[in-house]
């Protein structure tokens, strides 16, 4: 056994990369769990191809999982990984350019044979031709060492080879001084019924750890101290799971059954998967024949007095748009979750983007206002989903929750909320007449609104005396009978908009963070760009760069101080993973010359990108001021 220097570092980004079949997502998940349990803050992002399993050893088949962990608040999965684990030459080729110079590249040396290299068009072996000179390259014969470790096992060679991801995990765990306990516990429960497989995996895991411990390959081990985080109980959670749980929380607090109508679509399907598990929590999930039926079943459930929810991604949003119009017209609670992905059309289905904002706001015929909320980090999806439920129920109106592939698949530690403190939602179902008819008899008017919220009463089938008919035709304000009266239509059109605007009473003002107190520049984001923007700002604040940050969670209605905030700064820069959709809205609304910065690459912004952007604008502003 050799002794290794242990180096303390503040944060590390690791990327696991291999063939779709190499189990990299599982490896990453496990490493994440260990890291989280150890007390680091972290953020993760899986990144896989749209094919299920593209041909082995090809660039198209490479599947990645990246995480960044640190001893302080971590906002993104990191840009340039410090450590790349590449299970084959394709994984190396696809990723090596992105590794931080001076970083470690760990490869399975056994996979670097001529055939594999030829397939990728490598003339020479990249491990030896000097092209990786900027990195510490560790060529570990993982396959053969795994096979060796499992020699005694009665498993096929193919099956044994499948454990090499555990070898890699063991090695990386050693490198970062992680214990193997939790992974062993996980394997024990996962393979409870297959003791053979369990033992093989544990053996491979330990072999990897031992390899690190016993060799001189690594001169150094790293340790990342636990982060100082708010006291509390934490778990790691992906955005899609958090969304599912936020919906459950909303329904539970309202005392309503959650009814999901959905149709699978990447990257939203995991919400359906998660909710399908929750029968014990009285969650009803219906996988319908298409997205239209998904929202239809949800809206039907809402009409029936449940909390109807539908989940989808861009193409599904198109299909649901007609039904959203009906939800607007019938003024029923409904939550629509759009996990945005790269578009237009099928686009880049497994990549991220935030280009459905204008669709969420305007993607229906007629004046069809819908409330729009966007989550800003994986764990934040919980609160955002809960809030979507609360607003939908209180205002009897569809609410769109925008997340995206980056949030949905990414994960971070989440401080568990104290459930008992989560505020009540009162559906306040109608039970009695609320009007008198022409003859002076008590009657029920389904469109008689609450004067405060403008919400209409929600009278659920089964309630005696309140039977009524609603639908897509324009209805008379109050009585709810079909009306073609021009003035009524004008009035109802404005009332629907006004009702959404009234939600502003329930949403907090837009908060601005400006530790320097002297910023002329505001950097404003929405949705998942929160991570990179926040990381960039925090880095720059450390060196005293005068920049203020604000992040919009509510896109419709906008917080009531939005205009005031925008006007407070000399310059407002809005970075978006689209062609400037929020900018457009803000410019139109407030006539402020927002600077739009856009990137449509199917990837989140990189922190240095945002840092550069800020630095440039700060410099430019300083110059302009000097000139003036």
């Amino acid at each position: 056994m050799t002794t290794h220097e242990v180096q303390q570092v503040h944060r590390i980004a690791v990327r696991f990369s291999g063939d779709s079949g190499d189990g990299m997502q599982l490896t990453g998940d496990r490493f994440t769990s260990d890291t989280a349990l150890f007390g680091n803050d972290l953020a993760t992002l899986p990144n896989y191809p749209s094919e299920i399993r593209a041909p082995q050893g090809t660039l198209a088949g490479v599947s990645n999982f990246q995480l960044q962990f640190g001893d302080h608040r971590i906002h993104t999965p990191g840009d340039k990984p410090d450590v790349l684990v590449a299970m084959n030459p394709a994984a190396l080729k696809a990723n090596s350019k992105e590794v931080r110079p001076g970083g470690h590249i760990i490869v399975d040396a056994d996979t670097f044979n001529k055939r594999a290299l030829d397939k990728l068009g490598y003339a020479d072996d990249p491990l030896t031709d000097g092209t990786l000179g900027d990195f510490y390259v560790h060529a570990v014969p993982m396959t053969s060492m795994t096979l060796a470790a499992l020699e005694e096992f009665d498993l096929s060679k193919k099956d044994k080879e499948r454990s090499k991801n555990m070898f890699a995990l063991g090695l990386v765990s050693w490198l970062f001084s992680h214990s193997l306990d939790s992974t062993k516990a996980f394997l024990t429960s996962k393979f409870a019924k297959k003791p053979h497989v369990l033992q093989a995996n544990v053996a491979a895991l330990e072999a990897g750890w031992t390899y690190g411990e016993n060799t001189e390959v690594f001169g150094v081990r790293y340790e990342v101290a636990p982060a100082t985080m708010e006291a509390g109980v934490y778990r790691n959670i992906t955005g899609n799971t958090a969304t599912a749980y936020g919906l459950v929380m909303g329904a539970h607090r309202a005392g309503l059954q959650l009814v999901l109508g959905s149709y699978p679509i990447t990257p939203a399907t995991d919400i359906l998967h998660a909710l399908s598990q929750l029968k014990r929590y009285n969650v009803m999930t219906m996988q319908m024949e298409d997205e239209i039926a998904g929202i239809g079943a949800a809206l039907g459930a809402s009409f029936a007095g449940k909390l109807g929810v539908t989940t989808t991604s861009g193409p599904g949003m198109c299909l649901k748009s007609e039904f959203m119009g009906l939800a607007v017209m019938t003024e029923l609670p409904l939550v629509i979750v759009d996990v945005q992905r790269g578009g237009p059309s099928t686009g880049l289905p497994t990549k991220t983007e935030q280009a459905d904002l204008l669709q969420a706001l305007y993607g229906r015929h007629g004046e069809s206002p819908v409330a729009v909320i966007a989550a800003q980090s994986p764990a934040d999806c919980f609160a955002a989903a809960y809030e979507a439920c609360a607003l939908a129920i209180k205002y009897r109106h569809p609410v769109i929750l925008l997340t995206d592939g980056y949030l949905g698949n990414g994960s971070e530690p989440w401080k568990l909320p104290d459930v008992s403190t989560i505020p009540a939602i009162t559906p306040d179902l109608a039970t009695a007449h609320n009007a008198v008819d022409a003859k002076g008899e008590p009657t029920f008017h389904p469109y008689k609104r609450d004067p405060q919220t403008l919400a209409r009463p929600w009278a659920v089938p089964g309630t005696p005396g309140l039977a009524h008919r609603i639908g897509g035709l324009e209805k008379a304000d109050g009585s709810g009978v079909i009306s073609q009266d021009p003035a009524n239509h004008d009035r109802m059109t404005r009332l629907r908009v006004e009702k959404v605007n009234r939600m502003v009473a329930d949403i907090p003002d837009l908060a601005v963070t400006d530790p320097t107190g002297e910023a002329d520049l505001l950097i404003l984001g929405w949705g998942s760009s929160y991570g990179p923007i926040t990381a960039a700002c925090q880095n720059l604040w450390e060196s005293g760069v005068p920049v203020a940050q604000a992040h919009l969670r509510h896109l419709n209605p906008l917080p009531k101080n939005t205009g005031e905030v925008l006007r407070r700064f000399k310059r407002v820069v809005v970075p978006e993973m689209n062609l400037g959709q929020l900018s457009k809205i803000l410019r139109a609304e407030f006539l402020v010359d927002i600077q739009s910065v856009t990137s449509v690459r199917g990837l989140p912004f990189a922190v240095p990108e945002i840092e550069d952007l800020i630095n440039q604008h700060v410099a430019d502003l300083a110059e302009t001021l000097q000139e003036a």
Binding site: P226, K279, M284, F303, K306, E322
Partner: protein
Amino acid sequence: MTTDYSDLTELAGTAFVPRVHSDRVLTKKEFVSDQEVRWCPGCGDYAILAAFQQFVPELGIAPENMVVVSGIGCSSRFPYYVDSYGMHAIHGRAPSLATGIATSRPDLSVWIMTGDGDALAIGGNHLIHALRRNVNLNIVMFNNEIYGLTKGQYSPTSPAGLVTKSTPFGSVDHPFNPIRLALGSDATFVARTIASDRQHLTATLRQAALHRGASFVEVLQNCVIFNDGAFDGLKDTTDGARILRMEAGQPLIAGERCVVRDPLHGLTVVPTSAVDESKILKHDPKAHNPGIAFALASIEGADNRDFLPIGVFREIVRPAYDDEVREQIRTYVDAAGGLPTDQDIASLLAGRNTWTVS
């Protein structure tokens, strides 16, 4: 048309819908809303509305426990006229709404009133899926073989050759036979009736209501404005009855003609006088194999209305989707001792891997 349902299913269509107190006598009036009925004078839709409002009180359920859902079309205005809960939704999508309603609320009697365009053109997919899932719904399709509301374009049931506003030189589309489509979707209750035959219509609606699972009823309905007389050919002519009234257990005879097995085609139509009565096929809507029902729906003369079978083609027992969805939930909720508490939710949120920062 009387059938004994005792052996058919333990659960009637309205099994979980509360019954009104035994001394409350429900009347037709309670199912009539205050909205003026707005169909063209002479439209066949009136007869369907009247038959419906007349018969539903029999079910013994209060109007507030009924929901009528529709899409868009003349026929789809139906909900406004029934004093129950109702939703006049968007074109073709009623089955999806109704699936949400019926699955989440077993205590409601859910009806879909739809047209041939609404159900079979834009809404075809939702229809076939509701039927295969066997959601506990009553689907009544008003088939006037035309798009009435949009003023007369051919529909998926219009006969080939029909001249309409969108087919000025005659349609070249082969129409659906709605019965065959429903059978092809593995529907558990499939029937055809005629709006102008009040008694048959009422009896068919009643049977549909009793059926647990999805019941599909095609009602031939005359549109006086855009396709008047579409079903005039069915009126008896000198060559004998054109309508074959199928009744469970009864031989399939219509006037001078009857149905017998045929080695080549499965079934065939022959003069009643030419065969021994014992050879005449007896109708069995509960047959395990739906082949004969399908053959009946396709029998010589059926597609050109020379010999049109009406009545219940098929009526079998299969678990209803909504019952099973609820059952799965109930099992797990019960096993856990009831609806989740805050505590339960907290442990759901925590999952299996937590750590504490202090």
